[in-house]
């Protein structure tokens, strides 16, 4: 099979899978086909990677299908019409207005192009696209496999209409759109897929049809429609001034000539990657079932946002526009990390952590030097794997304990030991040396310091906040409390498979990252910037050593002598003494009136200093100002 047909296969096959999902009513049969389709998609992604290993250049493909663009326009118009209908039904009139604007813009731009704006090559493949294909194909497929077991249980627990058929169909359309998005050279095609991902996320966020879900789905929709309109404006501007609509031709132009369209398109990327002041849509998205969060946060949607900024980063390097985009990212990184300290809900904490990481990626892409872009690409990989793992674990914990409150997770390691170990791996992957995210933060720091110390300073303070909220979460999980529980019985084989694989990938990603870098990222950087990043062999050895130690040291617990005297923790002598077993007496004590009181230990959340109400506002004001300056800068 040629590259071309494999690329088309990746875009088209998930659509057939989606169609199949709408037809299959029996959950067991549907589950089987979800797994089969996921396997095919993952295998095709890997095949594309393997076939392309020796071919690291930028390859374009012409597509000769005259009617395809008409079909795309028709689909976009249909989506807008649907939004008008649904918006009127749900009384979300701002969405209706925007959908009308969207129709006018779509028709207007088509009239402007007058059928002449054609791309010589509609599709393309380079290592950045390939990296994205791997993330979507592998991580996305793993999430699909997980969803089979999860969604079945979800509808046992929650009293919402079972719309699993629609769920899986939309997920596969989403994957198709993501493949299309990262493989498009024609910007009009890219925008088409872009709008599809917006629409899919709207459908998935509103999955449960509760009032909150509906409200949040429209928030995501409205923000991303605005972003999409910016994208369209960018394309129109580019065509009117330069007469091109292709990514490759755009990248070949002098950056000074295309500041306006690049900023417009990056604006869409900033919205989609949930940067402040637009971050609220991603926080709202957590009302959806956990696999949706995992999908939106790891391999799709937000990654489309950072993809486009990274794609255009050579045009941002060294420009004022690039600097302000980087600052928006860096400020988002800092404030989202600080706010996460005050979050008591696991999914909200993870959401803020995603927003902050995406901020770091945008900061690196905005700076646009070869080292920064190299880091941004690595960040995408590490973040996709670890965050998918964490969100799916959060869903599993919620299934087992009926709570997502971190305060309810005391000693989770005693109740859900395997899931907790997976969470710990995921958390380690997000901030601990020598795991991936930390490698990237380290490289980001080195890349940013030499360009602009202000951005580096924002990253430094944000990193400390990350350390705080992740460590105190870990602390809650690893407390030893009694009695042990068995809350992970309901987890299905498919779910274990996904969690296990993602954990292994989280560890493996940092062990083999020099290889990933050498074969996937370096060739891209070399092609675009004519220089490569080299991380000294000594440092790599040190990190591998740390990893080996981290994997081996837990053995100490096995090797310890077991005959130690166990006592209950010091409680000022108010321990319950009637319990024979010291461990049992650990979590109860006598109050002054000799009443028995359960011991509760509550983490610091420091809301008065780091609360969302306070810092969220500051972050929004700051980033809005930066955005306003950006608008001014692009016309100068």
């Amino acid at each position: 099979m040629s590259f071309m047909s494999l690329i088309l296969f990746l875009i088209i096959f998930p659509l057939f899978a989606a169609l199949l999902m709408t037809l299959l009513k029996n959950p067991k049969v549907r589950g089987f086909f979800v797994m089969a389709a996921s396997l095919v998609i993952a295998a095709a992604s890997v095949a594309l990677l393997v076939m392309n290993l020796n071919n690291s250049g930028f390859v374009e493909y012409a597509v000769h299908m005259e009617y395809i663009e008409y079909a795309m326009t028709a689909v976009l118009l249909l989506i807008s019409v649907y939004i008008i209908y649904a918006g009127a039904r749900d009384k979300k009139y701002h969405a209706v207005v925007l959908a009308i604007v969207q129709i006018l813009a779509t028709v207007g731009s088509e009239l402007l192009f007058g059928g002449k704006a054609e791309a010589a090559n509609a599709l393309m493949l380079d290592n950045l696209s390939l990296l994205m294909v791997m993330l979507v194909g592998v991580v996305g497929s793993l999430i699909c496999v997980f969803s089979v077991g999860y969604m079945e249980k979800y509808h046992h627990h929650k009293h919402v209409a079972d719309r699993s058929r629609m769920f899986f169909a939309v997920v596969f359309v989403f994957m198709s759109a993501m493949f299309g998005l990262v493989l498009s050279n024609n910007l009009k095609w890219l925008l088409f897929f872009w709008e599809i991902t917006t629409f899919c996320s709207y459908l998935l966020i509103g999955y449960t049809r509760t009032a909150e879900a509906i409200r949040n789905s429209y928030r995501a929709l409205v923000m991303n429609i605005v972003g999409g309109l910016g994208f369209l404006a960018g394309i129109v501007w580019l065509y009117e001034t330069q007469g091109i609509i292709e990514v490759d031709k755009l990248l070949a132009l002098n950056p000074a000539l295309v500041v306006v369209p690049v900023v417009f398109i990056c604006f869409a990327g900033v919205v989609k990657s949930a940067q402040m002041p637009f971050s609220s849509w991603l926080l709202g998205a957590m009302v959806a079932p956990s696999p949706v969060s995992a999908l939106l946060h790891s391999s799709t949607m937000v990654k489309a946002g950072v993809y486009i900024v990274i794609r255009l980063s050579p045009l941002l390097a060294g420009t004022k526009a690039g600097l302000f985009i980087a600052l928006i990212g860096a400020v988002t990184f800092l404030f989202a990390s600080l706010i996460a300290i005050s979050e008591r809900n696991l999914k909200r904490l993870l959401a803020y952590s995603t927003i902050s990481t995406l901020g770091l990626i945008v900061a690196c892409a905005g700076v646009g030097t070869y080292q920064a872009v190299w880091t941004a690409m690595l960040l995408m990989i590490f973040h996709a794997v670890a965050k998918a793992l964490l969100f799916l674990c959060a869903g599993t914990v919620e299934g087992g304990t009926d709570s997502l409150s971190i305060e309810d997770m005391d000693g989770l390691i005693m109740k859900m030991p395997k899931v907790t170990v997976f969470i710990l791996v995921g958390i380690a992957g997000m901030f601990l040396a020598p795991f991936g995210m930390l490698i990237s933060k380290w490289q980001a720091l080195e890349a940013l310091v030499s360009v602009n110390p202000l951005i580096a300073v924002l990253v430094i303070f944000g990193s400390s906040a990350t350390l705080f909220f992740y460590t105190k979460l870990m602390g809650k999980l690893i407390m030893i409390v009694h009695p042990a529980g068995k809350l992970e019985k309901g987890v299905t084989g498919g779910e274990w498979f996904t969690l296990g694989t993602l954990s292994i990938l989280t560890v493996a990603a940092c062990v083999v990252f020099p290889v990933i870098s050498k074969y996937l990222i370096d060739p891209f950087i070399k092609l675009v910037y004519h220089s490569t990043v080299s991380m000294s062999a000594g440092n790599i050895v040190i990190m591998l050593l740390m990893m080996v130690f981290l994997l081996l040291l837990p053995l100490q617990i096995v090797l310890q002598r077991r005959d130690k005297r166990h006592v209950s923790a010091y409680l000022n002598g108010a321990n319950l003494t009637e319990y024979k077993d010291a461990a049992e007496a650990n979590d109860h004590f006598y109050t002054a009136g000799h009443n028995v009181q359960e011991l509760k230990l509550s983490n610091y959340y420091l809301e008065e200093m780091f609360g969302e109400k306070r810092l969220g506002l500051v972050g929004i004001v700051l980033t809005s100002m930066l955005l306003a300056i950006l608008c001014g800068v692009m016309f100068l």
Binding site: A433, M474, I542, V567
Partner: protein
Amino acid sequence: MKILLTTVLFIILAPVAGGLLSGFDRKISARMQKRVGPSILQPFYDVLKLFQKENVVVNISQNLYAFCFLFFTVFTGVLFFNGADILLIIFSLTLAGIFFVLGGYSTFSPYSFIGSERELLSMVADEPMIILTAVGMYMVTKSFSVADIAAYGTPLFFYIPGVFLGFLFILTIKLKKSPFDLSTSHHAHQELVSGVTTEFSGKPLAWIELAHWYENVFLLGIVYLFFAPVPVIGVAVALLAYFLEIFIDNINARVKWQWMLKSAWGAAIGLGVLNIFILYIVQ
């Protein structure tokens, strides 16, 4: 071969130096309080005694965290004295610190727990300035490698005095000295019992004490780095800095965490960041 030698020497000599520093600390503190104080070697007797004591535990996982704390603190020092990348060294120290904090959490003891939370806050307070120190050194020497930084011709102090002062400020937090000894009870504040280490005893407690000695030697190593071209001055300044910390410890009362966080970040911005911006503009 050289790496191996440095590693072995560090592992053997650092606790000797760290223990002596601790002995001087206690002696000088005693004299400041008009007491005679223990022998200079008292910390060694204490640690040796701990090794012979029974290890009573709340649960056995706490010993794992104590061991990892010691292990990665030693690892940090080994990297530093072998001239590795300073950012990697700082991250390794953070990893060690996290194990210490987790040890406190794992016991589900209220005193350890609050100690851990406060220790974590201390880490958040001091980390930005530590990384800014690395950044400042990079901006002067154009390298993150400790070997290159140490080999730079003129003392870094002359380029980054603000960074130096900022580092001295957070050194008080790192050494767990008053007014920032929030997570321990070295002085007479008893509300925390013994903070993070409340539930530790015997050998694991000795590991923790040893880890602090290794850590202190490493921290003074960073002070030395500011004056590396003139080794005599470097050592003198490092010892002087330690004396200063003892002095500060004895004349201050503990503050609340808000004040620690604000003042440490304030020092990082007012001294560290300002210095780095000036350096950036000048360059």
